[in-house]
Symmetry: C2
Subunit: 376 residues, 2 copies
Amino acid sequence: MKKTRILMALTTLLCLPLVAQDEAPKDDWKPATSNQPGKEYPKVNSEGRVMFRIVAPNAKTVGCTFRDSSEFKKGEDGAWYGHTRPLDEGFHYYMLNIDGAEVPDPNSRMYFGAMRWGSAVEVPAHDQEFYELKNVPHGQLREIYFHSPSTDSMRRAFVYTPPGYDADPEMRYPVLYLQHGWGENEYGWGEQGYAGFIMDNLIAEKEARPFIIVMTYGMTNEIRFGGLRNFNIEPFETVLVRELVPFIDKHFRTLSDQPNRAMAGLSMGAMETRMITLRNLDTFSHIGLFSGGSIRPDDIEDLATFKDRNKLVFVSYGSKEVGGDRPRRGGNPEESVEALKKEGINSHYYVSPDTAHEWQSWRRSLHEMAPLLFKE
Amino acid sequence: MKKTRILMALTTLLCLPLVAQDEAPKDDWKPATSNQPGKEYPKVNSEGRVMFRIVAPNAKTVGCTFRDSSEFKKGEDGAWYGHTRPLDEGFHYYMLNIDGAEVPDPNSRMYFGAMRWGSAVEVPAHDQEFYELKNVPHGQLREIYFHSPSTDSMRRAFVYTPPGYDADPEMRYPVLYLQHGWGENEYGWGEQGYAGFIMDNLIAEKEARPFIIVMTYGMTNEIRFGGLRNFNIEPFETVLVRELVPFIDKHFRTLSDQPNRAMAGLSMGAMETRMITLRNLDTFSHIGLFSGGSIRPDDIEDLATFKDRNKLVFVSYGSKEVGGDRPRRGGNPEESVEALKKEGINSHYYVSPDTAHEWQSWRRSLHEMAPLLFKE
């Protein structure tokens, strides 16, 4: 891990000057891995710029939602072309704009974010190897439905079962409940988050213990921007803790005691994780907060009980989220983690290099946290 | 079943004149169930017309890919509106056109068809109850990866396991291999095909025996329109029969003998099914061809062996595919089925009322065929 981080830092130092000196985009474009099958565009170059191509013969203006993009111009083939500024490594949502209509790029695969199925582009990351599809034993991502009396609905969840789950009917596994962010849904961790491949690769390398991951929709009540301050956790807490947890324990071979149950989430999902785990110390022993606050000793009502029950508090951010001395609600996360450590709580702080409030930070966070979960 | 068919026929007779007399669309629009979460448009009315709304302030022309649609016009809110002719019940792919750019409708969920993730709309069907999400025990739709030496790739499949699969580690199940059509992929049957809900509902009503369904990508070699006549089945046959079948038999609790293995497919998938099953009588006992040809006695090399090994030949079409006396390659499917019956082969012919070469025909075909599979 340490070697990787040094390499990451070096790569960044070497790459930055190149991009700054070069005004014209480097001509080493390659089709993005997030493209629809057989589509050449969008293309990404080694600076992390993305080039789009869209056939819109009668359009007056074409653009994309990435700020500071080039002007889109008609090429010799009659199609429109435009490119972005150098983007961070990893995954970015976007939409095209054709004469004022914001639409998905027909060349991109579709992902759910910002409350809609739309486009996104994958900028290759120097460390992408950890979430690549490899010829190793694979777990399964299972789409399941469970009945929720509190919301009077059938609800969907995805359940990752580790490789070998079906081979031994006596074997039982710990469970991580893993939440998406605001405007995303239960597909996020399995699709753009690559949770399955991350776990398959870690397990193949014997770096993490095999466990089950459960992902469901976390926006049970109507949450809109600005409303998070007065957010009522109870509807989702009921679905997750009183309905889904018992369903999973009934239908999967779980280790169903508190030491073998974790919850983590990103952004709004971290906020939900923080609220739910602090209110349910008897249910969850491991806590993961990715880009969504931290826990200070004085947030904890009964510190003695917490110290007794909790096995891990993992807090992470993208480096671009915590840079500078911007004040943040809940205080400095690194200081919170240090304060927990001083209280004797097994607490970890991770910063994803050169990434912001985006999926590359969260893929790396899962990859860093998973080996720390359910240690015996 | 018979009652349903009479009702379907009656409904059609009653509905047709209404639509024909009425020039202005009936004003009973409701949001389509295929919409993105929270989206009001596209809307569908009781005639089966679909109304679109797209914000495109600077566009000169807006349209959709449904032929005979109304001209799209700007409404008082500045958005563009247009509607289709009355469409058949069921599921239809489409795209929007904005100043010549063919793009997905940002209001629709995304489905894979015509070689791309794009838009589709669900026109409510009078018999949609059979594929609705109900509070019954649900199976699981599992995303799996298997290694394919012949194509040197990791390949995806979806596996439907019936309700209760995980409850009894001694229980083994028959398997249906189920193929999508040209330009579609392995997501088709699970998403727009509702294969899981169809089976969950049939099993809850004890109308079908619980079995496993395996769905993988069938366009292993490059298949393009016009190339189907010289289509080489071998690459896909190798992946399916020599690689996937053994993988499934190893990793799932299958009944792995020939009497407990079926193959079916729609359109190009039916063509593949026909070629593969006729060449592998020792592997598959049940054959389902949906909208993609039939089998005549003189297509079968060794009729005696076929009669001995085969348990079912199920052939189906949408009524709008087989209406009139259009000649079709492979001859009249109903006559083929009758000829098989005369040879003593358990053969069934089903026509989906008032549907064409589309998913409603294929949902109904699976619903009709499933109760006939793996009878003891």
